[in-house]
Symmetry: C2
DNA sequence: CCGCATTACGTCTTTCGTAACGATG
DNA sequence: CATCGTTACGAAAGACGTAATGCGG
């Protein structure tokens, strides 16, 4: 049987004229698109694509299938929409727990996307650092948690999936590299970033002298601006708030992985799926 | 996205009114059908079925989705058919190697099914015992081999899948159980069945006295009829040829697994797929 | 060389089967 | 108690990513 996933890939390639562009549109890696098409050709026994310099062109057979596929996929989607309407599925509630700089950056964007796509879904947002957010998930007090510092496999009942990577930045007044501050004072951005800071500095062969500690990334920047030391902040924190008096430099080896966590076996309830979808999209 | 496999299951259930019947129609195990429907309900968030005594009934939502699904699946199938027509895919050649009693029983049935569904496909048939048949597969001299005595994992390049189980039968003039013949003479049905015979008799605590050996199941039955001893034959051999003078009794613990083998990585070429499909159907 | 596509390979998820259990007439 | 459906679990296949390898302009 024709696989609609492969058909969606074919349609995307037909529209864009390139595997790379299709991959971007579908949030796939390039090789995945290539593989899908190769399999589709093998399964159907028909040559669907023809390489032409850079990019590819659809053969007649490929164009025919792409046309039929576009209609079929449309009907599939509209059947899903009809079912949703019948069961009022676009209504519902999702409770999200997320850490502060997420709330200051991509969570509002995701909220907008969610409201556009699922107008009936209520979104409840709670601020919580990762350990508390996961506790809320386990306790059933939240449906989705946006966290960092925890990966898949923490708990068999909690499903954790990767959202994106958040590079670390050095925040300073003078001296754009870590070693410029090896003998200076440091402000630990937050409890969890402290661990991260220690690791990064250890790689450079020194232990930072941490003289101030606060979870508040606004305060951290104010302290740096006041000359109290340097700090390490994730890029999300800088996107949420940027003190004009400080300077920043990305630290190549330093990334924080941001994840979305849910509770229970797949599949997630539809409202939860909708929120996860909205959270994943800003990655594009 | 709605998964067409699940939709096909839903449609089958809608038609038959029962999970068990749908499973039979789709060649699935019962629990697989149950699981597909459970997942479909969870993914869509809609109750689609309602248990009513024995059997199930579709809810309004389930009926709606089943109706839409039937149309979508029809279009999927017809897109595939259109593509096949365009690329003349229903033409082609498949070379089958199979052991004798298979040729005398279900292979002709499969040939008929193949000719009905794919009129343009030429089927070439060769008689070969399993080792030779597999050698032909590896040498590229056959596309599909019907074998027994070999299972999946024999060779990484040869894909072997289960077709059905073929129960063993005791062939005799007098004495319908194995132990009736513990001190009598035996005719080994064929080289490979000899191993099988030894195993079965060992379980009963004796070693059969094998006085005649032949691969030919017609000859075996003639010898039994002549009073030369008892024999063990697979049911396929008895279906292919039944000597009216002998009596037979199924041996509960004795089954021969029949497999289809192909060469190379999946997916198989369309003509090969078509033959495999035709071979699998008689199972129903 | 650079961009686009393919191949190779590893991890995680899903599917489907068998077996055991539960419910219903 | 017989039958239909569900739950539990294990084995095989598939999807998708990263890394490494063609290949055309």
């Amino acid at each position: 049987m024709l696989d609609p996933v492969r058909l969606r890939v074919l349609v995307a390639v037909a529209r864009t004229g390139s595997l790379t562009a299709a991959a971007k549109e579908l949030h796939y890696a390039q090789p995945s698109v290539s593989h899908h098409l190769a399999r589709l050709e093998a399964e159907t026994g028909a040559k669907l694509l023809q390489r032409v310099g850079r990019g590819v062109r659809l053969t007649d057979a490929g164009q025919l299938l792409a046309d039929r596929a576009a209609e079929i996929l449309g009907r599939l989607d509209s059947a899903a929409a009809e079912l949703e309407a019948l069961t009022q599925l676009r209504a519902g509630r999702v409770r999200l727990a997320a850490f502060p700089s997420a709330l200051g950056t991509f969570v509002p964007e995701a909220g907008v996307r969610l409201a556009e796509a699922y107008p009936g879904v209520e979104l409840h947002i709670t601020e919580a650092e990762p350990p508390e957010a996961l506790a809320m998930i386990r306790a059933g007090e939240a449906d989705v948690a946006v966290v960092f510092g925890y990966g898949p496999g923490e708990d068999p009942d909690v499903r954790i999936r990767h959202l994106f990577d958040d590079p670390g930045h050095l925040v300073y007044l003078d001296g754009p590299t870590l070693t410029d501050h090896r003998d200076g004072q440091w402000i630990a951005g937050c409890e969890r970033c402290r661990r991260h800071l220690l690791d990064v500095c250890a790689k450079e062969g020194f232990t930072p002298n941490i003289t101030f500690t606060t979870d508040d990334y606004v305060a951290v920047q104010a302290m740096v601006a006041a000359g109290l030391g340097a700090a390490l902040l994730p890029s999300l924190a800088l996107r949420a708030h940027r003190d004009p008096r400080v300077r920043t430099a990305e630290l190549p080896g330093s990334v924080r992985h941001v994840y979305a966590a849910t509770y229970g076996a797949p599949p997630d309830p539809p409202a939860t799926q909708a929120l996860l979808e909205a959270l994943a999209k800003p990655l594009a």
